[in-house]
Point group: C2
Chain length 142, copies 2
């Protein structure tokens, strides 16, 4: 069961298993695209969850610290975006005109990461890749 999953996930990282953390984790799991703290907050409000926006921020911070989540670039205005740091690599293609974000599948970086790790002695735990350009519709209208 889901809830047991996350319970173990949290305790492995030394985190208490709270309802709010389960909720935020759940939203991130469902999300196809990176979300802002506010996106998550509003999304949970719709489901009648009553947690505060600052709690969402605190939960996201700690998820990032524990490497459950990645803090992403600044696509949507200036709000930070967050996504799950699971093995299913999620990369994105952002339209510079309409700001639409689209997922890109597969990822050419596994080998690259290994090479960089060897060259720099970093231990590499993840990466983010964003591609920029213009989507088909915006190309027409420009």
């Amino acid at each position: 069961m889901r809830m047991t999953d996350s319970k173990m996930l949290f305790s492995d990282k030394g985190l208490k298993n709270t309802k709010n953390r389960q909720l935020v984790l759940g939203v991130l799991r469902e999300a196809e695209l990176p979300l802002t703290a506010e996106d998550i907050y509003l999304c949970l409000k719709e489901v009648d969850a009553t947690l505060s926006l600052s709690t969402v921020y605190r939960i996201l911070d700690i998820f990032v610290e524990k490497e459950l989540a990645l803090k992403a670039g600044v696509a949507k205005d200036n709000a930070a975006m967050y996504e799950l740091n699971d093995s299913s690599h999620k990369h994105h293609l952002v339209c510079l005109n309409c700001k639409k974000i689209q997922r890109v599948y597969n990822c050419p970086l596994e080998d690259f990461e290994k090479n960089v790790a060897k060259e720099t002695d970093f231990s590499i735990t993840g990466h983010r890749l964003e591609l920029y350009g213009y989507c088909p519709e915006c190309q027409k209208n420009l």
Copy 2:
């Protein structure tokens, strides 16, 4: 001469060639790593340039719009970082503990970009890649 370079660069993009823009462009050219608006502002203050922080923001915005610069992720607290969008790909390796940023050379993405462009009909103008991990020193201390 440098200045003539940038004059043409600006007029090509329909931008006036102002002293402030030259200065900001210059700082970005020298920079090994992405900079925040404030970094640039402070850096120019040291050289006795007297432009305002909001001008720096406005210049960066327009550089991004004209694809002279890329607006980067949120590594340093929550401030956006900017770097030149020149052909010399600059990718970065960020230490999740001490936040140090190190450059990574070469880039495995040229072919990948072409494939994605074909699959999605986007016209791709650039990309950003960041690798995360722990630097050698921080690995020792953890």
